[in-house]
Each structure stands twice: as structure tokens, then as C-alpha cells.
Amino acid sequence: MSDILLEEVSIRPPSARRGVLRRFLRHRLAVLGVVLIALLGIGAGGAPWLAPHDPDEIAIAERYVPPLSADRLLGADDLGRDVLSRLMYAGRISLSVGIAAMLVTLVVGFAIGAFGAYLGGWIDVALMRLTDVMLCFPSVFLLLFVAAFVTPSLGSMALMIGLTCWMEIARIVHAQILALKSADFIAAAELAGAPAWRIVVRQILPNTLAPILVAATLNTANAILLESYISFLGYGIQPPQASWGNMLTNAQSDFQVDAWLAVFPGLAITLAVASFNFIGDGLRDALDPRVRDA
């Protein structure tokens, strides 16, 4: 450091924020992802007002009505329930579980990664070893194991998924804080006399945020996938409450009777997951100027 002139050292962190929006908008698939998520969000969030039917309303006379029938845009299921309405209500559950689970991964991952890096010593070693151990379990196994013994609900699903998927966030947070503790621009900020809180808020947080934001977006996608699978197997959200996953529980027989019944929920899952993945990809490119040209 001694031979570097102070003004040569960037006091600001290598700016990730400049032009982030512009770069994100240039990522066409990411923009598409945002639009799709917004549409799915409106459909799910506004379901009580927008849904054409009560999702649980049974109409035996309209069993297996095909899509594009009068009044049944996406048809009706084996009990004559309106598929579009059920999809919208199911979206409320599936998207909520995905986002809530992502928040759990954030809280747990941040706590474990930050405590470890900040405190150091044997606590750090123990926490990081715990992270390593958790990564050894295929998360589907762990999740199913726990799910089978817990009364399923939106909250418990989110908690369980979150508790089996926090490891990546913890590792990122841990690595970022360790790296930033010794980064040149932090030393420069200290040299320039900036108080500690200011360093944390102005320097550490924005720098840590970028990769975490990306990981969180991808975690949301993964959580939606996991929820759908657990619910599909019958250990997640219980009918009659609809989730995209449990709407597929009878998919195997549905395919033979009325294939559309098995297609729409799967498409909804794919669209939601792909959108979050696209957004995550776009964020990664936009937030890290280095990877743009890599």
C-alpha cells in the first residue's frame, strides 16, 4: 500500500450500480422474466377479484370441459372446477412459498455466513463445517424426509425449503465479508477517516448485495420447483387448497383423460421458474460489470 498514492485508490467500491438498470434492460430474457413474473403476480395476487370462478366450486355437469369453452378459458377439471381460477389461486400459494422460502434462505444464510466471518475462530470453523455438511445431503431427500413428518402449510413449506437451501447464501456472505474485510478500498476508506458504520453501510453492504441478490433470485426459482415436487407427491400443500404442484398429483391419469389438465400447471411452474432464472441471470450480468465481457 505504501507506494500507492491515496488519490489513486478508489474510495468508492468498484461501482456496480452505475448503469445497472441499463445493462439489465439490455438483457432481453431478463426483461421478459420481469414481465412474466409481473403478469403471474397480478394473476395470483388479484385472484379473488380477477378469477372468473370460485376455485373450489364444483360443477359436475362441466367435468372435463375442454379449454376455450364458453366461460371456461382453460377448461374444467375432474370435478368441473374452473382450471384458470384454480391456477390463479394456486399461484398465490406457489409464488408465496417460493418467495417466503427465499427470505428464509436469506435470513439463515446471512446469519450463519456473517456470524462466522465476523466472529472468526472456532465458531467460524463450526458454522462453515455445518454448511459443508448440509451441502452433502441432496436437498430433495432432506426436504421429503422432514416434510413427511410435519403438518404441511404455507408457512411450514417455506420454512422447510428455506432450511434446506440456505447454504449457498451463507457461503457467498462468508466469502464476501472475508474479502471485504481486507479489500483495498475499505482500507482506503479507513485511511480517509470514515467511521465504521459508514464503511459497513456504504461499502460492505452494496458489494455483498450483488451476488446475494442473484443467489436469492435463483433460490426463489429453486424453491418453487421444490414446492411443486413435494406437493405433487402429496407431502406439501394439501387439496382442496390448490398449488401448482398438487394440481399435477393426478397428472398421470389426467394425461389420458384430458391432457390439458396436466399441461397448464406444469407450464405455470416452468414459466415462473424460468422467469426467476432469467432475472437472476440478467442481474448477474448487470451487477457485475466484469462478467459482461467475460
Partner: protein, 318 residues
């Protein structure tokens, strides 16, 4: 090398110790504990449960139970299934070949297709090929495997009738062709997600390698494009790719579980889901442990291979 190996094996053993602690804790934290199948059964009396508890040693202190359980795990005494009473070890072991067949073939297919498309995307960077590969990979990563499998069954088994809908072979055995036909669809479904990861990862690894000085040297020597790209480029990418193979194992094992349930593939995943329905703890625990063991050993193997490929590892990572 020997020291590096010793270190990595030591780390793996430590991981396995941690895995067993977590597994043990899970078993005891679950509602009803390891005896859920009895406590939830109204015809079983309190005395019966006490008797069984004593029989299984569950009235002893937790750490004694753990040591006994862990010792049993290491020595191959994995307990007995709650249903049928067969030894868990043999129940799980007889399922392993089917799972390995599915995982191995999918991984091989995914490797070939994924690495090839990743290289192509990197070389044809920012062209339509690159964008198409990237978008396809993203979509593949976003497909719910189980739904994709069901879709495949509907199209290729039920509608077209080209392939069997599930199982590992027709009833009464069947020849090699029969087994291959049964394998095809599950293998493709499981490989689909893996291909996406390989493709994306290979692309980014190759993009970095293509800008390296030694690649320019290779071209300056007058080597052919295949030799430059594979002999020099891919050779350098092997290290990150092998590492990815290790890291991908949890996804592979988890994906195998999902695929097996959809295709009634008689492997560990199907066994797990069936055991889950019956709350058959000993079997569940055994599969959880085997799954983690596969991941730990696979990562160890990946690290050893990396050390063999890259002579620098021995120096820097001791």
C-alpha cells in the same frame, strides 16, 4: 500428493461424521421419533412402546444411542425395516445398481451433449447459436423434472407407443434391447437438467480459456482447430469441469429420486418415496446416509482426479 490425499480424506471423514450427526438428530427430532410408526398406531399400547423402546435401546442417553447407531452404520448393521423386518442394508443395496444405471447413463449423456454445446456456444459467442443454447439451457433448468417426465410418458409411451411407460424391464425379464428401451426415457429426462448445467458451465469456462495466452500459442504452432480447441482448450477446462461433476452430485442424486418416482424405476429414489409413505425410518435413514455418502465420496474422487490432471494443485492446495 500423498499429503494432499491424506488431507482430503481426513476432511471427507469429518464431513461424514457431521452428516451422521445431522441424520441422527433429524431422526430424533421428527415428531414421534424413530418409533412414529408405533406411536401413531392406536392398537399399540404404551407398554408395547416401552418394550420396543428398551429393545431398540431408545431408553439410553442420547449420546450412547448415537455411538451405537453410528457404530452400526460403519459396521454394516443398519437395522431392520419396520415392514417385513428385512435387514435395511440388503434392501438398500439391491436398489443401488438400478440407480447407478440411471445416474451413470444420464451423466454420460449430459457430459457429452453439455460439453459439446458449451464449447460451441463459447466459440460462436454472441451468435444465434450462443443465444439459442443459453435460452434452451435456461428453460431446461426451469422445467419441473417430474412434469417433464410425465409429459414424456404421455407423448412417447401413451400417444406414440414407442417406448415403455415405466419400470426397468418388461415383466419376465426381457433382453438388452428391452432394458435399453426402458432406460431411454428416464435417462433423457434426468440428463436434460444436467445438460443445461454442463452447457452453461462449459461455456463460461471456455470463454475464459479462449482468451488465454497459451491458446494463442497453440494456434501460432499451426495446430488444427480441433487440436487447439480440444487438446489445449478442453484440457484446461477439465479441472473446473471435473470439479463441477463433484458439485453436481446432490442435484444428480436428487434428480434421480424424482425421475425414479415418475418412471417407477426400481432404484433408491423409488424406495425412499415408498418408505416415506410408510414412515419406515430405518430405510429412510439408510438412504439419506447413502445419498450423502455418494456425494462426499464423489467429491473426494473429483478432487483426486483434479489433482491428477493439474500438477499445480499439489503445491497450492496442501
Amino acid at each position: 500428493m500423498a499429503r494432499y490425499l491424506r488431507n482430503r480424506i481426513g476432511q471427507s471423514l469429518l464431513l461424514l461424521l457431521g452428516v451422521s450427526v445431522i441424520g441422527f438428530a433429524l431422526m430424533h427430532l421428527a415428531p414421534g421419533g424413530p418409533l412414529a410408526v408405533y406411536t401413531l398406531n392406536p392398537t399399540v399400547t404404551a407398554q408395547d412402546i416401552e418394550r420396543v423402546k428398551h429393545q431398540f435401546g431408545l431408553d439410553q442417553p442420547v449420546y450412547v444411542q448415537y455411538v451405537k447407531w453410528a457404530f452400526g452404520l460403519v459396521t454394516g448393521h443398519w437395522g431392520y425395516s419396520f415392514f417385513g423386518g428385512r435387514p435395511v442394508g440388503s434392501i438398500v443395496l439391491e436398489r443401488i445398481p438400478a440407480t447407478l444405471e440411471l445416474m451413470g447413463s444420464s451423466l454420460a449423456l449430459a457430459l457429452i451433449v453439455g460439453v459439446a454445446s458449451g464449447i460451441l456456444a463459447a466459440v460462436r459467442r454472441n451468435t444465434i447459436i450462443d443465444y439459442a443454447t443459453a435460452t434452451a439451457a435456461m428453460l431446461a433448468l426451469s422445467l419441473p423434472t417430474f412434469w417433464f417426465g410425465l409429459l414424456g410418458i404421455y407423448v412417447f409411451a401413451q400417444t406414440l407407443g414407442w417406448l415403455p411407460a415405466g419400470g426397468i424391464a418388461s415383466t419376465g425379464g426381457g433382453g438388452l434391447l428391452d432394458r435399453l428401451l426402458h432406460l431411454l426415457l428416464p435417462m433423457l429426462v434426468l440428463a436434460f437438467v444436467l445438460v443445461a448445467q454442463w452447457s452453461r458451465y462449459t461455456r463460461s469456462a471456455m470463454l475464459e480459456i479462449l482468451t488465454q495466452d497459451y491458446m494463442r500459442t497453440a494456434r501460432a504452432k499451426g495446430l488444427g482447430p480441433a487440436r487447439v480447441l480440444l487438446g489445449h482448450g478442453l484440457r484446461a477446462a477439465l479441472v473446473p469441469l471435473v470439479t463441477l461433476a463433484g458439485l453436481q452430485l446432490p442435484l444428480l442424486v436428487g434428480g434421480a429420486l424424482v425421475t425414479e418416482t415418475v418412471f417407477s424405476w426400481p432404484g433408491m429414489g423409488l424406495l425412499f418415496v415408498n418408505a416415506l409413505g410408510m414412515r419406515d425410518y430405518p430405510v429412510l435413514m439408510a438412504i439419506l446416509m447413502v445419498g450423502a455418502l455418494v456425494v462426499v465420496l464423489g467429491n473426494l474422487l473429483a478432487d483426486i482426479i483434479v489433482a491428477l490432471i493439474d500438477p499445480r494443485i499439489k503445491l497450492t492446495h496442501v
